[in-house]
Structure formats: C-alpha cells, structure tokens
Symmetry: C2
C-alpha cells in the first residue's frame, strides 16, 4: 500500500509534529486539531491518524486509519466501517502502565494508606496488620496483551490471577482462564475484579446487576471502557456491599460530567483516564513503525484491528 | 542444648499460648506479659522468648534468648550480652512484607494518588501522566535478607536497584552494591533511598546531615530503625528540598511522642511500625523450628545472631 498524504489530528498533534519532523520521514502531512479537519482533508489524504474520528469524519480517499490509543471503540462502536480501509491501533507500554496503576490501588488498599493517613492526622498510633498481596484472589476480564501483562506482574508477586474471556482459552500467567458465562462462582470468591476489555457489542454493560450480585465485598477496577459498566448497578453494588471499593479510570462520558454522583460517592476513586496514556513520542514511534510495515507490504502488522471483533 | 523451661513474654503471649498448646510440644512454659515476668522467672527458665528484654531482665540460668522480631537492637544495642547465651531472631515473611510496604508508597507517589484524590474532591478532570516505576533509581541501605528481597521485587519491575553495605559485597538482584563510604555520588542521582539496616553502633544516626545533603529532591523510606536517623537533619533536608517525601515506619521513640513535630510536618508519612509485623502464628512457627534445631544440636540455625555485629 502506498501512503503519501497523512492527516495527523488530535490533542497531541503539535508534539507529534515536532517528533515527526525530527524523524526525517518524507511524506506530505497535515497536522491539525480535531476541529480544524475539513471534509476536503479526507478527500486529499491517504491516511488519518488520531485518537478518534472527527465529528465530520468520512472515508473520502482514505486507505488507512491509525488509532493513537489502544482502544478503537471510537472508530467502530455503533458505527459502520468501510472494510476496504485498514484500521490499526497503537501498542506501546499500555500493559505495563495499566498493571502499575492497578497494583498501586491494590497495595494502597491492603497497606491501609487511608487509615494510617487518618490516624496521623489525629496523632494516633495504632497497629493494623497489612495483608500480603498473595493472600488475594484477582479476576481479570480480558486476557489479551494488557490482561496478560497484568497477570504476569500480579502472579510474580504470588497472586492467584484468574482470567475471564469469551473463548475461555488458557493463557500464560493466568492460574486459569474461564469463559465469561461461567464466571459466577469465581466472582463469588474473589477480592478484586479488574476490567481490561475493549468496548464492543459483547462488552457493553457487561458489568451489570447480575455480575455485581455475584460479588461479596469485593473491589472493582475499571481500566477498560466506561460503557462496559452499568453505572446504576455499580452504585447499587456499593450500597449492598457487593462492592467495597470502585477505582474508575474510564467513564461512559469523559470528562466525567460535573453532575455525576460518582464524584462524591464514598468508596469510589476517580482518575481522569490516565492509566494508559499514550505519550506523543510513543505515538509517533508506533505510527512510524506501522507506516513502514504497511509500505513494505507486510500486512501482518501486530496492531491490525479485526473489524468484526471490534478490537 | 537441652531446653525444658521457657518464658514466653510480650504483647502476643496469649495468642502464642494457644498456638503452642495446639502444637503438642512437651515443655514447661510460663506465658506472661512483660510486666509479670519476675527475677525468679529468669532463675527458673532455660529460655526467654520475647520482643525485647523486660525492664528487670537478667540472664539468671538462661541458655537461650529468642527474639520474636527480626531486629535485636532491643537486646544488644547499648547493652552487655552474656556470650554464653545463644541469641536467635525470628525470620519470616519480613522481606516480602517490607517490600510490599515500600512498593505501595513508591507507586502511590508516581501514580499521583494524592493529586487525583484532591482533584476528585473538587470535581476536577485534569490529565497528569503517571511515571513508570522503571524510570526510577532506588538505593537500598542493607543488602541482607530484607534488602535482597526488596531488590528482587523492585528489579523484577525493571527498577535499577543499588545496594549500600559496610563491605560492598555484590549480591544477587542488585544492579551494584557499593560501600557506604562511597555512596555519595550514587545518592546524588537517586529518586528513592530506603533504609533496611539494623540498629548497631555503625548505623546509629547514619542518616545525618552529610548523607541527606547528597540528595536532590529524593524520597526516603525508613523500615529499618528510627535511631539510624537524625531527626533534626531529616527535617532540615525536607526544608532544603534535599528530600521531597519521607515515609517513616520506625522512630527513635515508639509510639512516636505526641509532641513530635513529625506528625504534622508536610511531606512526612507516618505509619505505626507495621511494615514487618510478626503474627503470633509466624512467631510460634519460627520459635518451634528454632527450638527443634537447637535440641538436635544443630547450632548452625539460620537465625542465630552474631553478637559482635549486632544482627
């Protein structure tokens, strides 16, 4: 595939412009904010690179679309895709970043950071025994690249990590992988549930009342997509003590609206979609590698999106 | 060595009584709080088991003293020891516990837990990019059992871990081990300094003005002993930005006195000596194993204290 004209759009287009200028790659670029991209740009370009489609996105003469993020639901979920257009996504240190995010909140909880902080504020010296991370059972939804890196790091600390996936195919680093429809019993015994799944028709509202009802005083971390969670069911699960703690990095609407009840809800920790940021440098590296592979005619690039599956 | 009469003293003597009763070991025991132990008890007993000497401690007919904690400075520091009396210490999951304590505070810092909590409290959605733990350089003082376990866990996450010890002997899991008198340059480039050292004449006030002056906006974790730190120098280091954060689990006087300035000092996190607690069950397990080894005449038990070295 021959790619000559490329739109680079989105919040980090300026930083990407500088990096690409330094790389010496010889193509025609238009570096634009999402708002600046016109209908004509899509007719001009061979390729579009961005976090999501612009509001006026159309396929025009595009042959290739490259997502700067790992999640491509912005391009595919509830949208029609032109199957002649190649869709690729960025793969960088997401797995590592998400793993450290999750581990930080698990350790925060079992090391009683909040309790000790509160005790310090009133000069109270009272022993509470931290638990070891290996005393916990963790269930990870999603056994792809990100889920596997998470399982690798947690299992290296002695944690029993169970995976849940559509196929139930066994994967390295997981104690066991189970099909999603058979996860009930597993969930009833687990301490932490972590969602790493992409948003697809199968994962929309997957974390609903039925699922939360299986839990007993568990903790939930969402580093997948906000729309995979039924927010009302989440609140109810906190009310009913199915959930003790929810650590949420992603939301159906982002930024999380000011009137959302989640902001002030006890037992909810909110972070602004930072568990797996793509830095401009990482985005450029992955974009240039993918470009090179596509031009070499090597269509088996690791980061090609399966349009049917949606990830 | 024949041990028949044993004093079990200290805060967990009741729990230890229950565990030992269940173990079926056939000895004469006196289970006592520290205050209840009399002069006569020491003349009666072959062995004393406790966290520290009682205030009326004397060697009497003791042949063996077993410390329930890993640190034996309570028995040896600024005291005379009868060299005919065997001193052993508890070795359990201390290394693992201390490692998870340290990792929890490193991750808390680099994942900006406090900043995101503050943002949540005012419903602010602002991206800040967490760093990866592998971008940090950590210096661990003490390359013994605890320091090595800490180096093992941090290095498995990609951290460059440097060790500092009296001898400078290279040890597994450390990128490099350096003699304490040569640590200056290393300290000037590090992000985290962690003290795991026992209290001895060599480590008393080791973390003094000279040492802190080498640091540039670094973080300090003390999971060794409080008396290894010059508290005035620590405060000065925070004032001067040699230190950005001090996470302190141990103090010269414990519980930390109400009038200590550390309680309210910004940049100081205080926990009540919980990084490496001995549970009653772990204490009993280690005590019984040591007892068995001593009775078998196997004096090469792993947990024998070198009285000269003080650990």
């Amino acid at each position: 595939m021959n790619i000559e004209k490329i739109i680079i759009a989105g919040p980090v287009y300026q930083e990407m412009k500088n990096s690409i200028a330094n790389s010496g790659v010889n193509k025609h670029f238009r570096f634009l904010s999402e708002k600046e991209v016109t209908w004509e740009d899509f007719n001009w370009a061979d390729a579009y690179v961005g976090f999501r489609p612009t509001s006026n996105f159309h396929f025009g003469h595009l042959k290739w679309v490259h997502s700067i993020g790992a999640g491509v639901d912005g391009f595919l979920f509830n949208r029609k895709w032109d199957k002649d257009v190649l869709l690729t996504r960025t793969i960088t240190s997401f797995g590592r970043r998400i793993s450290e995010y999750c581990l930080s909140y698990i350790l925060m909880d079992i090391q009683y950071h909040d309790t000790f902080k509160q005790q310090q504020s009133i000069k109270k010296w009272k022993t509470i025994e931290p638990k070891l991370v290996s005393e916990h059972k963790v269930v990870v939804f999603g056994t792809g690249e990100i889920g596997q890196e998470l399982a690798k790091i947690l299992s290296s600390l002695g944690v029993d990590v169970y995976g849940v996936s559509r196929s139930g195919t066994q994967k390295q680093y997981f104690h066991k992988v189970i099909k999603s429809e058979k996860a009930d019993q597993l969930l009833s015994q687990c301490d932490w549930v972590i969602n790493t799944l992409p948003l697809t028709v199968y994962t929309e509202k997957m974390f609903n009342e039925d699922l939360f009802n299986c839990l007993h005083n568990a903790c939930f971390i969402n580093v997948g997509r906000g729309a995979s969670v039924d927010e009302k069911a989440l609140i109810k699960a906190l009310d009913n003590r199915n959930l003790r703690l929810a650590v949420l990095d992603v939301f159906k609407n982002e930024p999380l609206p000011q009137d959302s009840g989640l902001w002030e809800r006890p037992g909810v920790i909110i972070t602004p979609h930072i568990a797996a940021l793509t830095t401009a440098n990482e985005a450029v590296d992955c974009f240039l590698q993918t470009l090179e592979q596509i031009e070499r005619g090597n269509v088996s690039v690791k980061n090609i999106v399966n349009i049917e599956q949606g990830y």
